[in-house]
Symmetry: C2
Subunit: 207 residues, 2 copies
């Protein structure tokens, strides 16, 4: 009779290689970088996608204002320099998650192309997929939604430097995915993300 | 005949709850915080443990100088303020990994008790396990190993502020685990970590 010892352990010198890791975990890491105007629906879509992936047993994790601005980046304000550093750190953390075999879903306005491209370059250098998802909702639709009344305050001059009102949003020129979320519902947006992840072999059709 | 659509998707309003996440992933997140003198063996043990966990299909990820100092924290130096910020960011990122259902293994000297305790407090507030692992190798043994010749340079005055030579190391007063790695081999250290994770129900004996 053979006993498999649960605590049987083996390892090799040096670090775990990425292909060993992904094979053992039956998972591939990647970053889906959601970008779009305030109230465009980024977080709603990213949250629904996160749920669907996790229900399939896949590690997916959303980085958003709630868990970044009050944690890792709580010592950053809204100056041009701090906004850039904010996105830089998010890009670095997303890369670590992707490297670990998790699908990182970042949900930030990230209005400047240069900052998004820097995050992309980090992933390219590390050989990890960076998939830019442009949540392309017309500004009048975003402004109509305005769940926190921020557009209204920006129009009234009570908030300065608000993206789409008195600060620019630079739309991605060649995103991996464009979601016309003014005319697509959340389910359709999630399906489009799943198809992208499947076509890039981050996930399989069965999982 | 019933077809299970692979793209069947459901989600709820609001964010995924932690218990839903961990149940779906059959995983629990936690942080193992390795601390100890330079050349005490932190990274060797953490790397072996990471391999063993990943081989079991568990998401584990090591944060260490290689992937943090040259990435997220590349804009930090070695002033007292920067060292504190270095450990603060590492604590925040480890917490995110733990929240995502990954076992984060941090491998840094982290010489000051106050900084380690701040990382612990972050986890406590978030209801996530923080397990401090003191790699307690006598300094003469560390200095004998000295693979990069850093103790030698510090003794010669070529490196200033080197922990254990001219900068203090504050040993943990109540670590969850103490590894006498001067007299325990790597396998014994890994087994002790696995036992700790099992006793805290982060992992089960079968996985």
């Amino acid at each position: 009779m053979t006993h498999q010892k649960a605590t049987n352990i083996t390892w090799h010198e040096g670090n775990l290689k990425r292909d060993e890791r992904f094979a053992a975990l039956k998972a591939s890491g990647a970053t889906l970088w959601f970008t779009g105007l305030p109230s465009s629906g980024k977080s709603t879509i990213a949250s629904a996608l996160e749920q669907v992936l996790v229900q399939r047993g896949l590690h997916a994790y959303r980085l958003d204002g709630d868990n970044i601005r009050f944690g890792l980046n709580k010592n950053l304000g809204f100056s041009a320099e701090d906004r850039k550093e904010n996105i830089r750190r998010i890009g670095e953390v997303a890369k670590l998650f992707a490297d670990s075999g998790t699908i990182a879903l970042t949900s930030f306005i990230s209005p400047y192309a240069a900052d998004r491209n820097a995050a992309r370059a980090l992933h390219d250098q590390a050989g990890l997929p960076f998939l830019e998802v442009f949540v392309d909702t017309p500004i009048d639709e975003c402004e109509k939604r305005d769940p926190k009344g921020l557009y209204k305050k920006a129009r009234a001059g009570e908030i300065k430097g608000f993206t789409g009102v008195d600060d620019p949003y630079e739309p991605p020129q060649a995103p991996e995915l464009r979601l016309a979320s003014g005319s697509m519902n959340v389910e359709a947006c999630v399906r489009a993300c799943l198809e992208l992840l499947t076509s890039r072999r981050v996930i399989t059709a069965h999982r």
